[in-house]
C-alpha cells in the first residue's frame, strides 16, 4: 500500500522500523560507496584513534533513514531534499547481531504540489544518532 498526499496531515506518524548493521553490512557499504576508511572495518585501527571500536559510516546510517522514507513513499525517487546532522556514533560489535538502528518519522508540513516535509529520528543503543534530520518527499 502506497501512502498518498491526500492521506497525510501534519502530525501523521510514519510507523517506526528497525534496521540492522553488521560488520558484513559495513564491508559491503565500504565496497559499494568506495569509502574504505579503516574505522569502518578494522577494530585495531579504530581503537588506535580513540574510538570504542568499528563504527558505521555516517552515510550508512543516513542511508537507513533514507530507506525508511523511500519505503514509506514507495519510490526511491520521491525524496527531493534530505539532510541530517550526525549526532552520535553507531558502534558495530563483532558478532552476528551487529547494531540496531531504529528510525521513526513524522509528517510536519504539507508544502503543496504533493510535497510533504518529514522529520526523522534515528537512534542506536539508546542514543540519537541523527538529529535535525528532515526530508522533503513527493507523494502520489
Amino acid at each position: 500500500m502506497t501512502v498518498r498526499y491526500a492521506d497525510v496531515e501534519p502530525g501523521t506518524e510514519i510507523p517506526g522500523k528497525s534496521y540492522r548493521a553488521t560488520r558484513l553490512d559495513l564491508v559491503k557499504y565500504c565496497g559499494a560507496s568506495g569509502d574504505f576508511n579503516v574505522i569502518h572495518w578494522n577494530e585495531r585501527l579504530a581503537r588506535s584513534v580513540g574510538l570504542p571500536g568499528v563504527i558505521a559510516h555516517g552515510m550508512y546510517t543516513m542511508a537507513q533513514a533514507g530507506k525508511f522514507v523511500t519505503e514509506w513513499a514507495g519510490d526511491p525517487g520521491a525524496v527531493l531534499e534530505f539532510g541530517v546532522r550526525f549526532s552520535g556514533m553507531v558502534p558495530v560489535p563483532d558478532d552476528d547481531q551487529g547494531a540496531t538502528i531504529e528510525v521513526s518519522g513524522t509528517v510536519t508540513e504539507k508544502l503543496g504540489d504533493n510535497k510533504v516535509a518529514v522529520d526523522i529520528v534515528a537512534r542506536s543503543g539508546g542514543t540519537k544518532v541523527l538529529t535535525r534530520s528532515r526530508a522533503v518527499v513527493r507523494l502520489p
Binding site: 555516517g58 537507513q64 530507506k67 523511500t70 519505503e71 519510490d75 526511491p76 525517487g77 539532510g83 541530517v84
Partner: protein, 147 residues
C-alpha cells in the same frame, strides 16, 4: 592544525565524467538494504515514469566524495583526514540519478571555521550531467577533531 581559510570560495572541478551504471545502482541498493524494484528492474522503473533504474537518494555521495577527496588531499588545506568525522550532510535533488546518466561534480568550499579545538569545513558539490542539467547538490560539513 587549523585549516587554511584561504580555501574558502575555491572551486574544484568539474572532475572526470562519472557514468552511473545499473550495476552500481543495484550494488548500492543491496549494500544499504533498499528493496525497491525501481533500483533493479528497468521495466518497473519505466512504468513509474523514469528512463531507467534509479539510484537511492544518498548514492549521490559516492560521486560527490570522489570530487571532495581531491580537494581534501590538497596539501595547502591542512586537513588531517584521520581526525575527520562527518558532521552534517544534505542532498537537494532536481531529479533522481538514473542508469545512463553521465555526471560531473564541482565542489565549492563554502566555509571554514574553528570551534574550540575543532575545525568545521563546509563544502557544496553540484552534480550535473555533461549536458549541463543539474541533478543534485550535496552539502557536507566535516569536523576535524582537535588533538
Amino acid at each position: 592544525m587549523a585549516l587554511n581559510k584561504e580555501f574558502v570560495g575555491r572551486v574544484f572541478g568539474p572532475g572526470e565524467p562519472y557514468e552511473v551504471s545499473r550495476v552500481k545502482i543495484a550494488e548500492f541498493a543491496d549494500a544499504i538494504g533498499e528493496p525497491s524494484e525501481l533500483c533493479r528492474d528497468e521495466a518497473a522503473a519505466q512504468r513509474a515514469g523514469y528512463p531507467d533504474v534509479i539510484a537511492p537518494p544518498t548514492l549521490a555521495i559516492v560521486i560527490a566524495m570522489a570530487s571532495t577527496a581531491s580537494m581534501h588531499s590538497e596539501p595547502g588545506l591542512g586537513l588531517d583526514y584521520s581526525m575527520v568525522v562527518h558532521g552534517e550532510e544534505s542532498f537537494s535533488h532536481s531529479r533522481p540519478l538514473h542508469a545512463g546518466d553521465v555526471v560531473v561534480a564541482t565542489t565549492t568550499v563554502e566555509s571554514i571555521r574553528a570551534v574550540g579545538s575543532m575545525s568545521m569545513l563546509v563544502t557544496s558539490t553540484d552534480l550535473s550531467t555533461t549536458d549541463g542539467e543539474h541533478v543534485c547538490t550535496a552539502k557536507s560539513t566535516l569536523v576535524e577533531r582537535g588533538k
